[in-house]
């Protein structure tokens, strides 16, 4: 069967796992034709790179192309350590192409500017069109710049978000070092869902560690749009024991949400109060990376609804969305979750391309947060797919207790970090 009609056949998008496909393949004499199938992965972060590598591991004969706009990936995990001076900035940078190329993934340094779900192709910046049988999108997040009055992309040039690693990370690091003695650092935290739910509180802890040594009369104020947060018991314990009097968390229940921000004077106006900061870190509300808009894959929340068995879009057959960009509630948006989803999605994509029924995966999320250079706390969830609700169900979950073994977790946390970088980029 010539490639073109084969692709046509797949592009009907019908009968995945159905009799028709099975019958067709049996007449071909082999179990499948994965060597003619093309999968494109968009985005070379924790979700995309791990998906591309998993596809080649499961089906080495598959044609896998990964498109990433940046040559060097800058990791968000580790960036709080960089801000607090515990790790050099250079340690966040990873080469996108080398590890995946070794596994036979065709890595293209380009930006996707068009997706045609009907014709099943994508368009790159130079106009090249690439056909696919299955497309996996892993673009991460973008910010909702219109969400907070007074704070926008231009303002972020001097009031950092530092929620994507890069120049922003260094800007916040620099401002902390330059802050006046006894100054106030304010961190604003959005409502759920957002990238890395415990990340803001890890950041507050590590900034407290830095200030304790360099500016001990300084204070950290967390202005939260929520009334409770991830690992709250252990974080609160850490702040009381390790940084007494330094970290204050202000719940939206007390002061209401942010009304507007006066970026010129670094004043955050909440509904019932206002706070003047010396260093202001605004973590804005977020949504799926803009890439998903090319095929209108987001819902009104700005995130992408998927069937968490295959991570296929509920809006466009043949397109899968993994990582921060997708809605996989109750899984949080983390690198760990992104990697777990990438493997489930890769298995499902290979099954679908082979005319088989995808098997039900189990997914795990586990987020470590450091509270100082040696000690870490964590939160874990185990999830399975529920066909009835077309949702993920939590099978088990838990978090580190205030009297847990934080030092042992600190050792595991650094080794997890090393493993994650190795698996993703080597």
């Amino acid at each position: 069967m010539p490639t073109i009609s084969r692709r046509h056949f797949l592009s009907l998008g019908l009968g995945c796992g159905g009799l028709l496909l099975d019958a067709c393949w049996q007449t071909q004499g082999t179990a499948n034709h994965l060597d003619r199938a093309k999968v494109i992965v968009a985005g070379g972060g924790f979700a995309g790179l791990n998906a591309a590598k998993a596809l080649k591991r499961i089906a080495p004969e598959l044609h896998v192309t990964l498109v990433e706009k940046k040559a060097a990936y800058l990791s968000c995990p580790g960036s709080n350590q960089v801000i607090a001076g515990m790790m050099p900035f250079s340690a966040l940078a990873h080469d996108v192409a080398s590890g995946a190329t070794k596994m036979g993934v065709n890595v293209l340094a380009s930006t996707i500017i068009g997706i045609d779900p009907q014709k099943k192709n994508i368009t790159l910046t130079d106009g090249t069109q690439l056909p696919y049988d299955r497309l996996i999108l892993a673009p991460g997040i973008d910010f909702r710049w219109d969400a907070i009055e007074g704070y926008n992309e231009a303002a972020s040039k001097h009031i950092p978000h530092a929620w994507k690693a890069g120049a922003q990370t260094l800007l916040l690091q620099h401002q902390l070092r330059a802050m006046r003695t006894g100054g106030i650092v304010a961190i604003t935290v959005p409502d759920n869902p957002y990238r890395c739910p415990p990340g803001p509180y890890e950041r507050a802890s590590l900034i407290a560690h830095f200030l304790k040594n360099h500016n001990p009369r300084a204070k950290i104020l967390i202005l939260d749009a929520k009334s409770r947060f991830s690992k709250q018991a252990a974080f609160t314990h850490a702040w009381q024991k390790i940084y007494p009097g330094m970290v204050e968390w202000i719940s939206s229940e007390h002061e209401g949400r942010i009304d507007h921000i006066d970026t010129r004077h670094r004043i955050v106006h909440t509904e019932f109060n206002h706070h003047k900061a010396d260093v202001l870190n605004v973590i804005p509300p977020q949504r799926a990376g803009k890439l998903v808009e090319l095929a209108d894959l987001q819902d009104p929340t700005g995130w992408c609804p998927v069937t968490p068995l295959t991570f296929e879009s509920v809006k466009a057959p043949g397109i899968h969305i993994i990582g921060d960009a997708c809605i996989a509630t109750p899984m949080p948006k983390s690198a760990f979750a992104a990697q777990s989803q990438s493997r489930a999605c890769a298995s499902a994509v290979v099954a679908l391309l082979s005319g088989k029924t995808p098997t039900h995966p189990i997914l795990i999320n586990h987020c470590y947060s450091f509270v100082d250079p040696e000690r870490a706390i964590s939160v874990t969830g185990v999830y399975s797919y529920q066909p009835s609700g077309k949702m993920l169900e939590t099978l088990s979950s838990g978090e580190t207790a205030p009297d847990g073994d934080w030092r042992q977790e600190g050792i595991y946390a650094s080794d997890w970090y090393g493993l994650m970088m190795k698996e993703t980029f080597d």
Binding site: R57, I58, A59, P60, F336, Q339, S340, R343, A344, S347, A351, K356, P358, T359, H360, P361, I362, L363, I364, H366, S378, T380, V382, L395, S396, S397, G398, T400, G404, D405, Q408, E409, I411, Y412, D415, W416, G418, L419, M420, K422, E423
Partner: protein, 84 residues
């Protein structure tokens, strides 16, 4: 290894994938994170049951083991003790 796995294997593989986040893609472990590939089958089952009922000291494995049924646990034991 996984290349041309047949259906029964595919099922346990999609479950075993979830362990890879901390034990590595092939279960080889990394530094302090223990290897679980090639573990003795009985030791594996004992460890998982111990984690499940809190009889074995653990930071995170209790939370994880409690998410798996006895049947899944036995399949995982087969998978990791036999995986080469």
């Amino acid at each position: 290894m996984a290349g041309h796995a047949h259906a029964a294997n595919a099922e346990i593989e999609t479950i075993a994938h979830s362990c890879a986040g901390c034990h590595g893609t092939r279960g080889n472990g990394h530094r302090s994170l223990p290897a679980i590939r090639g573990m003795d089958r009985n030791q594996f089952v004992e460890a998982m049951r111990g984690f499940k009922n809190d009889h074995r000291t653990a930071t995170v494995m209790g939370r994880i083991a409690r998410g798996f049924s006895e049947a899944e646990l036995l399949k995982l034991a087969d998978y990791f003790s036999e995986s080469h």
